[in-house]
């Protein structure tokens, strides 16, 4: 993704006259954009007036601007290309803020083009005016308020360049209405950005690579901790070679799921708060930790002073400001992860890790992911649902998730083997991200199976995009792990707040007399709205509700085989929690391993 698009990037013929709005359209074409997500309004209507004249890209009209940013984000995560959003001023732009923050936290390249009130009215509290560069500054990699039509072409060029290079991220370009109308006489789209202060170090310093090898050779218990940077730089192949030829075990972060095949014997699955016992044990026991494109997030490290206490640390990252941010490191290698791994692999030697791998294999046998299967009754366990998806979904299926328990069960129980098959809001934890992101991924890969693992809370946060899914024929499969709770908060209330379920119950008793009998733990005497399966009627999609374990497989098969948008409402065990769990800010040694 760090490369400029090969096609469609030739400069325009010089001397063409174009309006600001036409320049925007030309820039999108030249940048190789194939799809734009968005929503119109008065301050962007000039761009829309030209938008439908282009046959080079498709416009997808969403039902909410937040949906548009998440779709662009999901599209970017699935394809590696820049996701593009066009919205109007004021509320249009402010509705993109959550999507921007989400893309910023997870380093996802999107460009948001927003209309702005005319230059002469800026600062006057004009109708639908908002200080968009001010509001979006802390949640974007960079942003621009365009001040003249002369600078518009190069700022568009800069925006795409900044979004896709280095540590990728969201860029906002705010264009006043008068500049969309203004005419530039001598227009040509620049070949290069004009960014003298922006430097991306791709190639690592060879001395640091050599020092890293000295530590790797000397280590007895080395461990690779791989993150989203491996996926962003398309380095999964290089990582696989590095790990297998050195025989060093690999644990991945939540953002790194898919960077290393989880069915590989060296895989320890995910680490951190809801990671496996053996991954966290390996972290606490290793004598060398090789962090590759990961940022030592607090959900990974737990109590920072007790993280990897016996380990020297090598940290590889594209972002120099990530180095020694949370944990002091012994060797840093700044550069593009793919470039770094290629350099490392040139000097590759096998390491003597036989004893260490044997130890870890023993831990894997002793402490597998575990849950009570309830095989004797009809209760549906959420982990079982994910395992069934894992079994029945296509090999190249893309799994998206919402945020909360559904997300952690999906991360734990689905076997990720390929990069860009896991799309989920990591850093920001945005409920409502999964479904629109799934639509973006589906648009990027119309032929592949795209599944949104949802919770009954999260799915309602952007459910309006069902109409978008139907209209543009994006047949995403929504599988709702419905427990009638805001489950992850409920889990914290269970464990740390004396079961005071304040503000987390999404159900109500059927009647006053039922209130006494209704249990917080099962579906008896419970009234729940909406019946998600019945959304099939107003929207014209497929829908079904499952309440018994025995019906699940047949319903799941039908859902996955459906050629339309499909909603499977699975009423799961209401009281199930996500384990193992390291309480916030506890050491990775202190795992809660679950209830029998």
């Amino acid at each position: 993704m760090n490369n400029e698009p090969a096609a469609g990037n030739s400069p325009s013929e010089p001397g063409i006259q174009k309006s600001g709005a036409e320049i925007v359209i030309d820039a999108l074409e030249k940048e190789g954009v194939e799809v734009v997500f968005g929503f119109p309004g008065g301050a962007i209507i000039d761009v829309f007036d030209r938008l439908n004249q282009s046959d080079r890209f498709e416009f997808i009209l969403t039902r909410h601007e937040q949906g548009a940013t998440h779709m662009a984000d999901g599209y970017a995560r699935a394809t590696g290309k820049v996701g593009v959003v066009i919205v109007t001023s004021g509320p249009g732009a402010t509705n993109t803020i959550t999507g921007l923050a989400n893309a910023m936290m997870d380093s996802i390249p999107i460009v948001v083009i927003s209309g702005q009130v005319p230059t002469s009215m800026i600062g006057n509290d004009a109708f639908q005016e908002a200080d968009v560069v001010g509001i979006s500054r802390p949640v974007s990699k960079h942003n621009y308020l365009v001040q003249t039509v002369e600078e518009l072409p190069v700022l568009l060029k800069n925006s795409f360049h900044i979004a896709r290079t280095g540590r990728p991220g969201p860029v906002v370009i705010d264009i006043p209405k008068d500049i969309q109308k203004a005419v530039l006489k001598n227009y040509s789209y620049p070949e290069k950005p004009d960014l003298p202060g922006y430097h991306v170090q791709m190639e690592p310093r060879i001395e640091n690579v050599k020092t890293a090898w000295e530590l790797i050779r000397a280590a007895e218990r080395p461990l690779i901790y791989a993150g989203g940077g491996v996926i962003n730089s398309n380095a999964a192949e290089e990582l696989l070679r590095f790990a297998t030829e050195t025989n060093i075990p690999v644990t991945t972060t939540f953002m790194g799921l898919g960077a290393f095949p989880e069915n590989h014997p060296l895989s320890l699955l995910m680490l951190g708060m809801h990671g496996t016992v053996y991954a966290n044990r390996a972290i606490q026991s290793c004598d060398l930790l090789i962090a590759i494109g990961a940022r030592f997030d607090d959900r990974v490290t737990g109590k920072i002073d007790e993280f990897a206490p016996h380990a020297k640390i090598i940290h590889m990252d594209i972002d120099p400001s990530s180095i020694s941010k949370n944990v002091p490191v012994d060797v840093d290698i700044v550069g593009d992860i793919q470039c770094i791994l290629r350099n490392l692999n040139k000097m590759i030697v096998p390491c003597n890790t036989k004893e260490w791998v044997k130890q870890i294999t023993e831990w894997k046998r002793q402490f597998p992911l575990w849950y009570n299967h309830h095989e004797d009754d009809e209760i549906i366990m959420p982990q079982h649902v994910i395992q069934m998806i894992d079994q029945l979904a296509d090999d190249d299926a893309i799994i998206c998730s919402e945020v909360g328990q559904n997300q952690m069960w999906a991360a734990q129980y689905y076997t990720f083997t390929k990069p860009r098959t896991w799309i989920s809001s990591g850093g920001l934890g945005t409920m409502g991200f999964g479904f629109p992101a799934a639509l973006g991924a589906q648009r990027g890969f119309p032929g592949r199976m795209v599944i949104d693992v949802a919770g009954d809370g999260s799915i309602q946060m952007n459910i309006q995009e069902l109409a978008t899914a139907i209209y543009y024929n994006l047949p995403v499969k929504i599988i709702i792990l419905n427990n009638g709770w805001l489950g992850m908060v409920r889990q914290w209330q269970d464990l740390f707040y004396a079961k005071n379920y304040s503000g987390t119950n999404l159900t109500r008793p059927c009647s006053k007399t039922d209130a006494a009998q209704s249990s917080p733990t099962d579906w008896t005497n419970i009234d729940y709205v909406p019946d998600f399966s019945k959304l099939s009627e107003p929207y014209g999609c497929w829908g079904r509700k499952v309440t018994k374990r025995g019906e699940l497989e047949e319903a799941m098969r039908e859902c996955l085989a459906c050629d339309r948008v499909a909603i499977l409402d699975v009423r799961i065990s209401r009281e199930e929690n996500v384990y193992p769990m390291v309480p916030a800010n506890a050491s990775l040694n202190q795992m809660i391993q679950g209830m029998a």
Partner: protein, 173 residues
């Protein structure tokens, strides 16, 4: 370790840059003691000198993040380096001055190589340039006469001798 840091920042001369730079400090609750901005010999580039007291480790992270800003060409923390810097501040001080006191005030100004920028019937404006210690010394001696107002420019700073990284950054600019 807590101490006073002096940041040198070369930035694009463009609207919004100041807010971006200041935002990195304010987001962490740091209060900027002084901040000066001015064009360099290239009209495209401005130079900022920022004085901010705070923890070394946190401000080192701020320095890295300043370097990451798209509009920042170069950033250094002078207080973390070994070599000497020249740092200066301009101060204007309006002080009570009856005609009989003018001679004494001029004498104090001369000792500090300060200038008399204005004389009015009841007051004078003293203009001085110098290091922090010198300015503090001058204000201390003027205080007994009754200081009416003080305007300070904030500090500007420059490393002594040849300075490769800064020259390289300028070459790019």
């Amino acid at each position: 370790m807590m101490r006073r840091h002096i940041f040198y920042v070369l930035v694009e001369n463009r609207s919004g840059v100041l807010a971006r730079v200041a935002g990195l400090f304010s987001a962490r609750g740091f209060n900027i003691e002084s901040l000066t901005v001015g064009e360099t010999d290239s009209p495209r580039i401005s130079r900022m000198t920022i004085v901010v007291p705070g923890d070394d480790k946190i401000l080192d992270q701020v320095r890295k993040q300043l370097g990451k800003l798209i509009d920042v060409h170069d950033v250094r923390d002078f207080s973390m380096e070994t070599h000497d810097i020249v740092n200066r501040e301009l101060v204007l001080c309006k002080v009570n001055a009856e005609p009989s006191q003018r001679g004494d005030i001029v004498e104090i100004a001369n000792i500090f190589r300060a200038r008399i920028a204005d004389v009015s019937p009841q007051s004078m404006i003293v203009e001085a340039t110098g290091s922090e210690n010198k300015i503090a010394g001058l204000l201390k001696l003027l205080a007994p006469y009754g200081i009416i107002e003080v305007a300070r420019s904030g500090r500007v700073a420059m490393a002594r001798g040849n300075n490769e990284s800064i020259q390289n950054a300028r070459a790019v600019a």
